[in-house]
């Protein structure tokens, strides 16, 4: 290698150094350290103590963890289909020639850029059993107040509805981009061939949105498994652990009970579960689109 090449390389390293440093300190080190913690018990005060696979053993027998996972899966089962269906519907409406299109596009995107904590506090007020607007509207129709966040059966679905509203704008943008990339000629062919609007959707729009749908499903799966701020602010995981998500459980184990090793184990287990779910989703959607 010539001296010139070496100098070029050095300049490259200098320019990438700040990001590499950031990556090392805030990503690589915590990742490696948490992997180290998986095999240790640590309470943040005394030095970590090697425990082998005990954390995994405990995880497998921890009913609270499995409850948290089940809660997260319930959230996922409501949130993802709702996200996909409503995002596609709204994106299709916004792709049409409608009045005030720009206003509606901005309006639907607005919740995405509002802080999660703010949105959650706002929705906690809307869901309030006594003074919430939802129950006031129901009262106008003569319906008894609903315990949106204080009933074990309704709390997680209520959080899922809120999270869907909060994130939908982002997925609407993705679907809108997907819809606008479908060549207009294909719909002209279908007009000539005499398809109905439903046939257009079923045989043209939906198949051609498959790549976007895969992206949306994968991204919202990541998002759904990372559910934290909503139950943390609205319910604290209750009532009776019914809104305890895996991430909230991990947080509580780490910073409430100082079980850092066990929290790290929960984190790695969650990563493995996400990987598994996404692989299954990808395989299913890929085979569907072929």
């Amino acid at each position: 290698m010539t001296t010139g090449d070496e100098r070029k390389d050095a300049v490259g390293y200098v320019f990438t150094a700040p990001y590499l440093l950031f990556l090392l300190v805030f990503t690589a080190y915590p990742l490696l350290f948490s992997f180290y913690l998986v095999f240790h018990s640590w309470d943040l005060i005394t030095p970590p103590e090697y425990v082998g696979l005990k954390n995994f053993y405990f995880l497998l027998h921890d009913t609270d963890f499995w409850q948290a996972l089940l809660n997260t899966l319930i959230f996922l089962a409501i949130h993802i289909p709702a996200q996909v269906v409503f995002s596609i519907m709204i994106a299709m409406a916004l792709a049409e020639k409608i009045a005030a299109k720009t206003f509606f596009r901005a309006a639907f995107f607005l919740p995405v850029i509002i802080s999660g904590a703010v949105v959650t506090i706002l929705w906690a007020k809307l869901y309030s059993t006594d003074a919430g607007i939802f129950n006031q509207l129901l009262a106008l129709a003569g319906i008894a107040p609903v315990k949106w966040l204080t009933s074990t059966g309704l709390a997680m679905p209520s959080i899922a509805v809120m999270a869907t509203w909060k994130n939908m704008g982002f997925y609407i943008v993705l679907f809108l981009a997907g819809l606008l990339s479908i060549p207009a000629h294909l719909y002209e062919v279908s007009k000539i061939e005499g398809t109905t609007r439903w046939q257009d959707f079923r045989y043209i729009t939906l198949p051609l949105l498959k790549p976007t749908m895969l992206l949306v499903v994968v991204l919202s799966t990541f998002g759904a498994f990372s559910l934290f701020i909503e139950p943390y602010v609205m319910t604290g995981g209750g009532p009776l652990n019914s809104t305890m998500s895996v991430v909230l459980y991990m947080y509580k184990q780490a910073f409430l009970f100082q079980h850092m090793g066990y929290a790290a184990t929960v984190g790695f287990a969650l990563a493995a579960i996400i990987l598994l779910v996404v692989l299954v989703q990808k395989k299913y959607l890929d085979s569907e689109s072929h």
């Binding site: 000539i192 061939e193 045989y203 198949p207």
Partner: protein
């Protein structure tokens, strides 16, 4: 029977904009292959899309076999269309692409299968039936698009610049294939192109459009040999017809046309009485196609030629079989197309003659009518 009639059809995209298509009236006979040709933006695709029902008609009436279809949805017009970019469904294989229309209309499965295989056999795409569009070449894709159009056996076929995306060799091949297919199906076909070569070779009749109006309608031979105006004269033919501003003169008792310092005798088609219709001092346009200019020493017997004209060859462009010469004779610039067997190169001085019996005279407004 599928006779298509346009009656004073107008298309205006915005209420205050000028008309894209202006009072177009045209009758297309059953089984005819009509080509709409014109430069970009002349309204030819608009005419086709109005017939297809893909865009609305602002005014006027379109009928197929006497039935007014002006406001009918596309599916009720019994037409099919082949698009420039093929418009194949990327997620469907060739079989399902061809079968799409029949499936959507709920045709029985065995009938769909019979018709798809028949169309595939006709177009030679049977080995491709289970391939996806992304696996096909441009020519194969266009065959599939044609297959999708013919499988439903519509009354009228519409082609919107279907060969524009193909390379020159494939274009020539597909041109012949579409012509053969039309002869076999005997259906009415309307074909839009900006390529005059396609128009000339494929059309039973061609319509030259310009700025939303029909400049001329006729057989390719009629349009080539008797263009109605200077636009058609220069649009059809490559290289284009040479046009010169001319004045009628009868100085010294001999009637002729004065072009710059050159005086040409009246073309024979005008000298037998036509001269009476030319007025001294009025402006005319004299037109001669490059292939009707000959080397003075190689003139064919029987050609009614003018006196030899000395000129300089500014540029000689070899086209293989022919050579196009960009000539200049005392400021009079023109192009001549000669057979390649005579060695002429840029900078040579040569003598040429105009075949007057093949020349054209247009009035001051650019119209023939003389």
């Amino acid at each position: 029977m599928a006779k298509v009639i346009f009656e004073k059809v107008v298309k205006r995209y915005q209420s205050n904009a000028r008309d894209t298509v202006r009072e177009l009236s045209l009758a297309i006979d059953d089984g005819e292959f009509l080509v709409l040709v014109g430069p970009s933006g002349c309204g030819k695709s608009t005419v086709l899309r109005m017939l297809a029902g893909l865009i609305s008609v602002t005014d006027g009436k379109i009928s197929i076999d006497g039935k007014d279809i002006t406001r009918l949805p596309p599916k009720d017009r019994d037409i099919s269309m082949v698009f420039q970019n093929y418009a194949l469904f990327p997620h469907l294989d060739v079989y399902d692409n061809v079968a799409f229309g029949l499936k959507m209309r709920g045709a029985p499965k065995n009938e769909i299968d019979d018709r798809v295989r028949e169309a595939a056999a006709l177009l030679g795409i049977e080995p491709l039936l289970h391939k996806k569009p992304k696996e096909l070449s441009g020519g194969q894709s266009q065959r599939v698009a044609v297959g999708r159009a013919i499988v439903r056996r519509p009354k009228v076929f519409l082609f919107d610049e279907p060969l524009s995306n193909l390379d020159a060799k494939m274009r020539t091949q597909m041109r012949a294939e579409i012509s053969r297919l039309h002869r076999r199906l005997k259906a009415t076909a309307i074909y839009v192109t900006h390529d005059q070569c396609e128009a000339m070779t494929m059309a039973d009749r061609m319509v030259v459009l310009h700025d939303g109006v029909i400049e001329q309608c006729g057989t390719p031979h009629e349009i080539y040999s008797a263009p109605r105006n200077t636009f058609v004269a220069t649009f059809i033919g490559s290289p284009p017809m040479n046009l010169f501003a001319a004045e009628f003169t009868s100085a010294g008792g001999a009637a002729g046309l004065k072009i710059n310092n050159l005086t040409l005798p009246l073309p024979p088609q005008l000298s037998a009485g036509g001269a009476a219709r030319l007025e001294t001092g009025r402006k005319y346009t004299f037109g001669i196609r490059p292939e009707h200019i000959y080397l003075a020493e190689r003139i064919f017997p029987g050609v009614n030629a003018c006196a030899p004209l000395a000129c300089e060859v500014e540029l000689a462009e070899s086209m293989g079989n022919d050579v196009v010469l960009h000539c200049n004779s005392g400021g009079l610039a023109f192009q001549a197309s000669l057979k390649h067997d005579f060695p002429v190169k840029s900078g040579d001085r040569i003598n040429v003659v105009f075949a007057l019996d093949k020349s054209h005279i247009f009035g001051e407004n650019g119209e023939r009518g003389i």
